[in-house]
Amino acid sequence: MFDKVLIANRGEIAVRIIRTCKRLGIATVAVYSDADSRSLHRQLADEAVHIGSAPARESYLDSEKIISAALNTGCQAVHPGYGFLSENARFARALTAEGLVFIGPPPDAIAVMGDKIASKELAVKAGVPVIPGHVDALKDEEEALSVADSIGYPVLLKPAAGGGGKGMRIVETPDQMSEALASSRQETLKAFGDNRIFMERYIQQPRHVEIQVLADAHGNVVFLGERECSIQRRYQKIIEESPSPAVSGELRRRMGAAACDLARKAGYTNAGTVEYVLDANGGFYFLEMNTRLQVEHPVTEMVTGLDLVEQQLRVASGSPLPFGQDDVKVEGWAIEARICAEDPARGFMPATGMITRYAEPRGPSVRVDSGVATGSKIGVYYDSMVAKAICYGKDREAARTGLVQALNGYHIEGIVTNIDFVNSVLCHPVFAAGQLNTDFIADHFDGPRPLEPPDPRLLKLSALTATLVHHVRTMVVREAVRPMISRIGTDRDRADIHQYGVRCEAGSFDITLEKAPAPQVWNISVDNEQFVVETPDFEFYRRRLKLTVDGEDHRFRLRIEQAHCWIAFCGLTHKFEVYTPKEWRLLAHMPERDANGPTNTLECPMPGLVVAVPVKKGDRVYRGQNLVVLESMKMESGVAASVDGIIADVMVSPGQTVEAGDLLVRFAEPREKDKGTES
């Protein structure tokens, strides 16, 4: 085993690897960029080496700096984590040349699996089923049409390079081919400098199921069950689980055996993942092999009881696997949710800021892999994933409800996250039924919100929580001023029953609070449905609340904003307005205000770097026209005008960093202003 390992990564995966190293008594060296100088992975490692400025190219992707850091600190091996240099064969070779061990597969295996064509050819040779398709890049439209005829529509156009869904097109009928092929080529050329396009059958209602394999240098290959990662948004996985509700024991054995065959054929060692697409009839087809530790590896660890990083380290140091296939037992169920700093309400744009409050859920079956803590700053330079929450249960439902509860109590302030969005996925009845496919989000969600109306019971629980908070907070003031009140006469405010009218965008509620004789217990009716609620001592500063409703514990997160109360619970996030009966009655006379009235400014939707401003003062622009191009989290995107108008002022210039909400462009005042009349 190694004595000292450098971790060429950051964030949660670096922290996670450091933890295993510590347990095994291996010294750790972290690397960090300017942006990570106060980060958790730097603090936890035994040593830390600064490797450059914030952009990944100048730090985490700079293999020379990382190799010299490893050499200077006397490391024997480098763990690449995932992303960055983890699937870079040249980096692996360079390490080997310096006498360092790359904790991962041999460079040749990385190279072959990194090539879509070569890997597919190898899979065919290994007898692994592949999606019917054409093994060569398409020459032209004519060939595309004939190949499509032989495969059968619908077909998928897939670029040779890259990933993340860039350049992919679904073609359903021959007349769509020309345009789809052209745009696919253009997009992939722009993104990856390669315009080779392949074609394969498009699988409808596909599930994404992958097999974890582990191979040592002594010819032993095992698989550790499967993971289902069908819940994806724009080809990014957000929820993963193991096992898959769609995989039977027999299917698992076949998928696993095929994966092991492929690994052997490739001369693979260390941990790897064979990704399949699984169709509705149990047919599975090879997609690709990821030659690294996956983000979602913890679900496998929880159902197998293994530590994959430990196994990676053992295998890399030359030890044989300490167990065989028959020793691998998959028990129970584990589900993981990826927690990302992104704003679901703003089209899942990356969010930045400092984490001002951070509290992870805890419990015997809950695991959180996190790279952040209170005070961490989330910038624009790296991936937006900050943590993963994983929950184990004896069956799928236990794991699911456990994770829902855990996310209800996962408290992150200061940055916007997708916690409530992933929770709304976990709470979706179709997800609960295990009916997954990779179109799940597109089919069941409109932006951040589920298409179906929320579960009325969950909504009622949220509403009663908001009401309780409002009521108790009001009562605190009454108590506080008691010493200042005239003592002449009697107290007039001794009512035990309190009525409220409560509304949020999902509905209105009649809520009655009645203090029960027992301390901290309330009888609450919401639209005539009765609840018995036990509360803790209210400590508003926590902004987390555990209520016992009809004997069941529930956790709520809350935020009091002016006169209203936001409640986040089971994926529902609503701003509740709580009114006394007289306020409620008079509210009928209050005008509804359009909160997003006409705007004559363009605000920055996400933090990033201004790359280009293709317009100037005085230009007439049209709604939808891109006025500013931003680079954020390695992606360039345009910010489009929300109105037709003339530009009065451009407030930013290329090279400038901007925050979400910054003013980018101001439009000239609309000429036809609605002139109010004097009363």
Binding site: G375, R478, M484, D493, Y541, L586, H589, R593, K675, E678
Partner: protein, 517 residues
């Protein structure tokens, strides 16, 4: 019971009923259609259920020289007292449905009566304005009546909190009553305030402008600083008034109520250790610090949209109301300019008048430079804030968070103008000016003569930063009482407020000082 007596009771009932519905159903309906509540509905929302006691229900005008025919019971304003969360307040609510809420002699006398009583018993006075202005038919009597109200506003100033809610029009001289009061609330879209209205503006200057653009809630919240709070509608406005009252004592002899939000006094916040960016040119949001240290993260900001480079508002520390004055580095780098100085100066004086301790959070790079500011009277306005802080005798604590440069440092409640306790974070930079400016002045010749002036400048800046950009020199001199860990700020402040609870300070005997108004 004899017949005569029964008739008298009936008469009283009839007159009261008339007064309850003085404007008539049709006018009430119009009021509602405009998105406004009636004067009585507003009082009902503002006060605790059933607590309102009305005065002068039957008072009417004496008619006018023009031979105004009809008189109305109550004369267009409802006055009386009631409680907010149990505490007595006085209230007058102008009734737009009765002769447009116009102010005549009787109307004003009713208002004056409750103002006098409020000052005498030491209870806040809350005015809900919705008035077309002076009742022209009453001529000079109406003007005289305004004067009486102004006089009482001034007499009550600093004795009881005075709050104005603008819930309809308020034009001409009438604006000066709210202007004198401590806090002005405006309801969006339904209220406006101006000295001269759009029609006069058009006649005199030929400018076309709407009432909303001339003196609407947003204009006064953002541009003029007249409005301290705005609300989306009447219901939310009145709720906000109740909230403000919860922070305040009822008069200048009391202290504000202690509110136990069960937020531990010794709560530490590790996030604060990371708040200040490593790069001194980067900004951060002062609100993170404010919301972190205050009880229950509750903060009621005054004039949140005006002079946003300074943050003023009420919060609680250990249950006690404090007035918070903080520079906001995220806006104009937190400089002091004319508007910021005026905003904070008036707020500081309110707190001092009503026994509310002051806490300042300092990150100020200086006064705003430039001819606009100089010609706009930054000298006069900056002096207001300096005067206000210096004059205040309530407990005064200052925490220097980052920059504390030059005169602006002195103004921001520094030890040198006798704040009681002055803390600094380790990130504090207490100096005459920023490193660049200082290096350029001190080492002008060396920099000019250097082969690489830019490199020399950087070197001198670094030297200056190492020497002065820290709190330790000031701490050695005793100007800083302690350099504290950012995470401990809350507990240190609460501990210090305990220490200062019985503070007594008296100024020299004088009629009053001469604040540079």
């Amino acid at each position: 019971m004899d017949v005569q007596y029964n008739t008298t009771l009936e008469t009283l009932e009839r007159l009261r009923a008339e007064s309850m519905n003085a404007g008539g159903d049709k006018k009430i309906e119009i009021q509602h259609r405009r998105g406004k509540l009636t004067a009585r509905e507003r009082i009902d929302l503002l006060l605790d259920d059933g607590s309102f006691e009305e005065f002068d229900v039957l008072k009417t005008s004496r008619g006018s020289a023009l031979g105004q025919e009809k008189t109305y019971a109550g004369d267009g304003v409802i006055t009386g007292h009631g409680s907010i969360d149990g505490r007595e307040v006085f209230v007058f609510s102008q009734d737009f449905t009765v002769v447009g809420g116009s102010l005549g002699e009787a109307h004003a006398q009713k208002i004056c009566k409750v103002m006098d009583l409020a000052a005498r018993v030491g209870a806040p006075i809350i005015g809900l304005s919705d008035s077309g202005g002076a009742r022209i038919q009453e001529g000079v009597d109406a003007l005289a009546a305004y004067g009486e109200i102004f006089h009482r506003n001034v007499r009550a100033s600093g004795v009881v909190p005075q709050i104005s809610c603008l819930m309809g029009p308020c034009a001409g001289g009438a604006v000066y009553s709210p202007a004198i009061t401590d806090f002005v609330f405006m309801v969006q879209d339904s209220s406006y305030m101006f000295v001269t209205g759009p029609s006069v503006v058009k006649t005199v200057t030929h400018q076309e402008i709407t009432a909303e653009d001339l003196g609407g809630a947003m204009v006064h919240a953002r541009e003029s600083g007249v409005a301290h709070f705005t609300a989306a509608n009447d219901v939310l406005c009145l709720r906000k008034v109740r909230r403000l009252i919860s922070y305040l004592p009822s008069n200048n002899r009391q202290r504000a109520p202690i509110l136990n939000l069960r937020d531990p006094a010794d709560r530490i916040d590790p996030a604060l250790d990371y708040l200040i960016p490593e790069n001194p040119n980067q900004t951060y949001d002062m609100n993170v610090l404010i919301f972190s240290i205050l009880d229950g993260a509750e903060f009621m900001e005054i004039q949140p949209d005006f002079a946003r480079n300074i943050i003023c508002g009420f919060g609680r520390l250990g249950g006690q109301t404090v007035g918070l004055v903080a520079n906001q580095p995220a806006v104009l780098a937190g400089v002091l300019d004319t508007d910021a100085s005026f905003k904070a100066g008036r707020f500081v004086r309110f707190c001092d008048a009503f026994n509310i301790p002051l806490v300042s959070l300092v990150d100020v790079p200086g006064f705003m430079p430039g001819p606009d500011q100089e010609h706009g009277g930054i000298i006069r306005h900056g002096a207001k804030l300096l005067y206000a802080f210096t004059e205040a005798t309530v407990p005064r604590i200052s925490v220097i968070v980052r920059k504390a440069y030059g005169g602006a440092y002195l103004v921001m409640n520094s030890k040198h103008i006798h704040c009681d306790v002055n803390y600094a974070w380790p990130t504090a930079e207490i100096a005459v000016m920023g490193p660049k400016g200082a290096a350029e002045v001190i080492h002008r010749r060396e920099i000019k003569a250097a082969d690489d002036p830019e490199a020399m400048l950087q070197e001198k800046m670094a030297h200056y930063r190492d020497t002065f950009a820290n709190p330790f020199l000031a701490a050695q001199r005793g100007y800083i009482d302690d350099v504290i860990f950012p995470r401990d700020t809350r507990q240190r402040l609460i501990r210090t407020l305990q220490l200062l609870e019985e503070k007594e300070a008296k100024g020299p005997k004088r009629k009053h000082g001469n604040i540079p108004l």
